[in-house]
Symmetry: C2
Subunit: 188 residues, 2 copies
């Protein structure tokens, strides 16, 4: 069972994860995170010395979540075709959040990619996870250009996320995801 210190740490990471997504990393202050986690500023420094440290923990947390999700899909779904469809379904199920705040991993990478290269290198690992998992499925289906197909699918999903956020409209998202499923049908 995690001790109190570990529980506090988890509470901070969960609060920061939400704020970084909903406001952006640079728009979230150290104090915002401490307030949202309801940890006094004095105690807070025991867990994290800088906002960059919090970001590293948030990215680790998201990577754990993505890894666990993909492992679950692997365990529950035998056919690579259905696994790829599951990925598209995930995007569809996120419509409301995409329309409001954009893609958590896309928006974080775009934000940090401009002028914070060390932080962006961390955030990119989320993309690597999806890219490699998608490529593994296309490879199982016998496609030598599995990595290109994976990036194509990831890029299409990112583009949909941008337009969905810009126009705060999930109608476009759903029509486009139907088309993306039709694209996928050609490869499975």
């Amino acid at each position: 069972m995690p001790d109190k210190g570990e529980l506090n740490r988890q509470r901070i990471v969960a609060a920061a994860n939400k704020l970084f997504y909903q406001r952006g990393y640079n728009q979230t202050s150290f104090t915002d995170v401490a307030d949202a986690a309801r940890i006094p500023r004095g105690n807070f420094y025991y867990y994290f010395k800088t906002k960059d440290d919090i970001l590293a923990a948030v990215v680790d947390y998201r990577i754990e979540m993505i890894t666990a999700m993909l492992a679950q899909w692997d365990a529950e779904i035998a056919a690579p075709r259905v696994r790829l469809q599951r990925f598209i379904a995930m995007v569809r199920n996120s419509g409301k959040e995409l329309a409001r705040f954009g893609c958590p991993m896309g928006s974080l990478n775009i934000e940090l990619g401009k002028a914070q290269p060390a932080l962006k290198a961390k955030a990119r690992k989320m993309f690597d996870l999806f890219r490699d998992w998608l490529a593994a499925q296309f490879k199982l289906l016998g496609h030598p250009d599995a990595k290109e197909l994976a990036l194509h699918l990831l890029g299409r999903a990112q583009g949909l996320a941008v337009i969905t956020q810009v126009y705060a409209d999930t109608g476009f998202l759903n029509t486009e995801l139907d088309q993306l499923e039709a694209w996928l049908d050609k490869y499975v």
Copy 2:
């Protein structure tokens, strides 16, 4: 001929435009803009009272640039098919900047879309311009679903911009733009 005040104002907008693109809006301070434009802080307030005012001027400036570019394409290129190809060529020509800083209008919208709705509503107008111009071309080609096709093309381009920035790689961009040209060929 513009007077000195107007020239100073233009210098501020040009400096801010570059900083907002290369660092992000929220990562750029009032002082950063004043320093980059080499305008003393005291004089600066004569031109702009708040950073939000600068953003409004930057968006107006970008909208003018985009409008002028699209008008030039309309004047120089008669065939809607070739105009649409010109749009794709523009994305291709921006590869280096996309890999380094992402798409200027996409990244600004994503950043402001999270928690600054009034500023985002301004920034969205850049998307409207491209969407309407692309839709006009598809309409000239006789497609009743011209608006959907325009958003599809815009979304594909945005997705490419995200992946190109995430992996700082223009190789993927060029391969995907070839595919996007092939997609376009089906509609022209």
